[in-house]
């Protein structure tokens, strides 16, 4: 029992994910700044921002539904913490994996988006409502290709346990380089992840120049801090999810520690590059992109996996 609480709160749950997530956000800000010929903030900037927000006043607008408005950030935070917890436990001890845990994970990955939708709708601001409706459309768009892409390597090894895919990759090398189907699925999953992280070109729900941060517009103080923290933690957990499924998982013995970190940083930098070399799409354009381009691609990958490629 005590061990489980430790897992949830300290490692690999909340504290660990939060610290790494905030550092990852710093990498994002720094690399972005260097691409744009700016200097960028020092490494502790995100921590300072977070603690500063914690000390600020929480304002709940009159038109807002108070419970939903204040609970929404927590829902997102719990969701992303659980995702991180399950992923790391499975990576470190593949044998405790249970049947269908990947389905649980996919559901939990939805929670932060759900939190944004609830929070945005509850805040009683037309811009927030518009942002929430955009988030809803984005989730509808990216969820289908994402699920298919995540299931592709599982179909290939005929198991729906994360533990078995980690063990399989430890024995046979990473899925990405050994199977064509997984390669296609990885591309699809990567682009869906960009949408799940709401980064450009899919930062539509919070488009600052159009709807002024959308769902977050009425948030202030600790709830905003929690939303920001959730975003940072997503920037850590989502790439880890992809690494677990396609890039051989994370291992902490000897040299593989370094290799795990390099894998994560590579994906992070790739995310940042995509973010910085694309303008924001319109919501209808991204819907079309996910359903008409990525969905068929994901299906092709899935069929290839069924054929054993």
């Amino acid at each position: 029992m005590l061990a489980n609480i430790f897992y949830f709160i300290v490692f690999p749950g909340f504290l660990f994910t939060a610290v790494i997530g905030l550092l990852a956000s710093w990498v994002d800000r720094k690399v972005t700044a260097r691409i744009q010929w700016r200097v960028g903030p020092p490494w502790y900037q995100n921590f300072v921002d977070f603690f500063k927000l914690l000390g600020k006043e929480t304002i709940v607008p009159k038109a807002a539904k108070k419970t939903g408005f204040l609970l929404a950030p927590l829902i997102g935070l719990i969701g992303v913490t659980l995702v991180s917890l399950i992923l790391w436990r499975m990576n470190l001890e593949p044998n405790i994996s249970f049947m269908g845990d990947v389905i649980v994970l996919i559901y939990l990955c939805m929670l932060p988006s759900l939190a944004i939708i609830i929070g945005g709708s509850a805040s009683g601001n037309p811009l927030a409502a518009l942002g929430a409706s955009r988030e809803m459309k984005l989730v509808l768009a990216d969820e289908l290709p994402f699920i298919i892409a995540i299931f592709t390597p599982l179909v290939r090894i005929a198991s729906i346990r994360i533990g078995s895919i980690v063990l399989y990759q430890q024995a046979n090398g990473m899925m990405l380089t050994h199977h064509l189907s997984s390669f296609i699925a990885f591309i699809v999953a990567f682009l869906c992840m960009q949408a799940k992280l709401t980064l450009a070109p899919f930062d539509i729900p919070e488009a600052e120049q159009e709807i002024m941060a959308g769902p977050f517009i009425e948030y202030s103080g600790p709830p905003l801090a929690i939303f920001k923290l959730t975003r940072s933690m997503m920037l850590f957990t989502m790439p880890v999810f992809l690494i677990t499924m396609f890039l051989g998982g994370l291992r902490f013995e000897g040299w593989s520690i370094l290799w795990s970190i390099v894998k994560y940083l590579l994906i992070l930098v790739l995310i940042i590059l995509v973010k910085n070399t694309n303008p924001r799409l319109r919501i209808d354009q991204s819907l079309r992109f996910f359903w008409l381009r990525l969905f068929p691609l994901a299906l092709i990958g899935f069929v290839l996996a069924l054929l054993g490629l």
């Binding site: 744009q36 600052e208 002024m212």
Partner: protein, 397 residues
């Protein structure tokens, strides 16, 4: 009938650095109507002008806008010169054109950056502004100021462009041209950018004429107007250049017009600088007094035609100044371009006419412990001069 919501853009909004209020009436994501409310930024310039002398008025109108800060003085001087019937010296004509075109260059790059920012492409924003910086430095080297160049006066120009400045200017512009070329290619070849800009906010030729659009907004809709060619002033009738038009009328066409105009500007400046080497003489004629009468002055500002009307009663101050900035006529076109588009595009279309922003502030440094200002006016002036010296030395190398 479906539910209609009003999405406010302004009076304070990340899209507009100046207070302007657009009411978007939306159904879901689709904009069905737009209402424009202006007048949040009234500064009484026209009234103040009546208490200034003709020379002081140029100083005043330069402060109407921080970005097209030389357009208003040129138009104003044109108007005053028309009253007095003055023909300015040839050398002054070239200098006016050089300053006017350099302003167009930096203004168009500024717009490109902002347009990038508005569609969430912050890299384009930073890069465009990075490339704009050398132009401002050239301005500082030639006129002593990054903005508000204070070069115009009725009868000519205040400062000469020196012989030794011409070579560094040409070199600097050459580099700027290369960078703009790179930027143009990168911006126009990007498929995602094209997806966002093409076919968005189309202003048809008929509408452009009906709404009296001017400048790049009109030229992107195929309306072939340009005050510089249609009513030549300064040196525009003396050099060889083209009016850029596009047929699309959408945001992409407006972007293309602006980017291609940059190259025309560089062409004009290059020719003017070459002529400056040959044309000697005065840079201003003495204006004794302004007779009673009325005068009209135009200038093709980066955003379109700037129009000044001045009336004089023979004293040393004008009795009436009327200014019409290009944004004033371009803004109503959003009545036809915005409805039917999504909210995401609406902001971009509003920005595509390049509404005027002021951005000329320098710095205030405050000592944390004493709360005193570390740098006072005179310190800033000293720092400014030092930096100008440094830029000049760098350019002359």
């Amino acid at each position: 009938m479906k539910n209609k919501t009003v999405i406010p853009i302004g009076p304070f909004h990340p899209l507009q650095e100046e207070p302007e209020f657009f009411e978007l009436v939306v159904e879901g994501e689709k904009v069905v109507d737009i209402n424009v409310h202006l007048g949040y930024n009234h500064r009484g310039i026209e009234k103040i002008a009546e208490s200034k002398t003709f020379d002081q008025m140029v100083f005043l109108v330069e402060r109407i806008c921080g970005i097209c800060s030389t357009s208003h003085p040129i138009a104003n001087c044109n108007a005053v010169e028309e009253i007095a019937g003055i023909e300015i010296p040839e050398r002054a004509k070239y200098i006016r054109s050089i300053i006017g075109e350099m302003e167009r260059l930096h203004s168009h790059l500024l717009w490109l950056g902002l347009a990038g920012h508005f569609i969430g492409y912050n890299t384009l924003w930073m890069w465009a502004w990075k490339y704009r910086e050398p132009i401002l430095e050239l301005f500082e080297a030639v006129t002593g100021n990054r903005n508000h160049y204070a070069m115009m006066k009725p009868g000519g120009v205040l400062r000469d462009i020196k012989e030794e400045d011409i070579a560094p200017l040409l070199k600097g512009l050459n580099e700027v041209e290369k960078k703009i070329g790179m930027l143009t290619k990168a911006a126009l070849d990007d498929p995602v950018l094209a997806a966002r800009l093409k076919g968005v906010g189309v202003l048809s030729k008929e509408d452009a004429i009906a709404y009296c659009a001017v400048g790049p907004t009109a030229r992107a809709s195929g309306v072939d107007i340009d005050v510089r060619r249609d009513e030549p002033y300064a040196a525009y009738g003396l050099v060889d250049w083209q009016v850029i038009t596009q047929e699309g009328g959408d945001v992409l066409a407006k972007t293309v017009v602006r980017l291609l105009e940059c190259f025309e500007s560089i062409k004009i400046i290059g020719q003017c600088l070459e002529r400056l080497r040959k044309v000697r003489g005065e840079i201003a004629v003495k204006v004794k007094e302004i007779p009673p009468g009325e005068g009209i002055g135009h200038h093709e500002a980066p955003r379109g035609e700037t129009f000044h009307y001045v009336r004089s009663d023979g004293s040393n101050t004008p009795v009436r100044l009327k200014v019409r900035a290009p944004t004033y006529v371009n803004l109503p076109t959003c009545k036809v371009t915005v409805p039917g588009e999504s909210v995401a595009d609406a902001t971009l279309i509003l920005a595509s006419i390049d509404p005027c922003y002021c951005c000329t502030e320098r710095i205030i440094t405050i000592n944390n412990k004493t709360g005193q200002r570390e740098l006072r006016g005179e310190d800033l002036l000293r720092l400014c001069r030092k930096k100008t010296e440094r830029i000049r030395r760098k350019l002359e190398k």
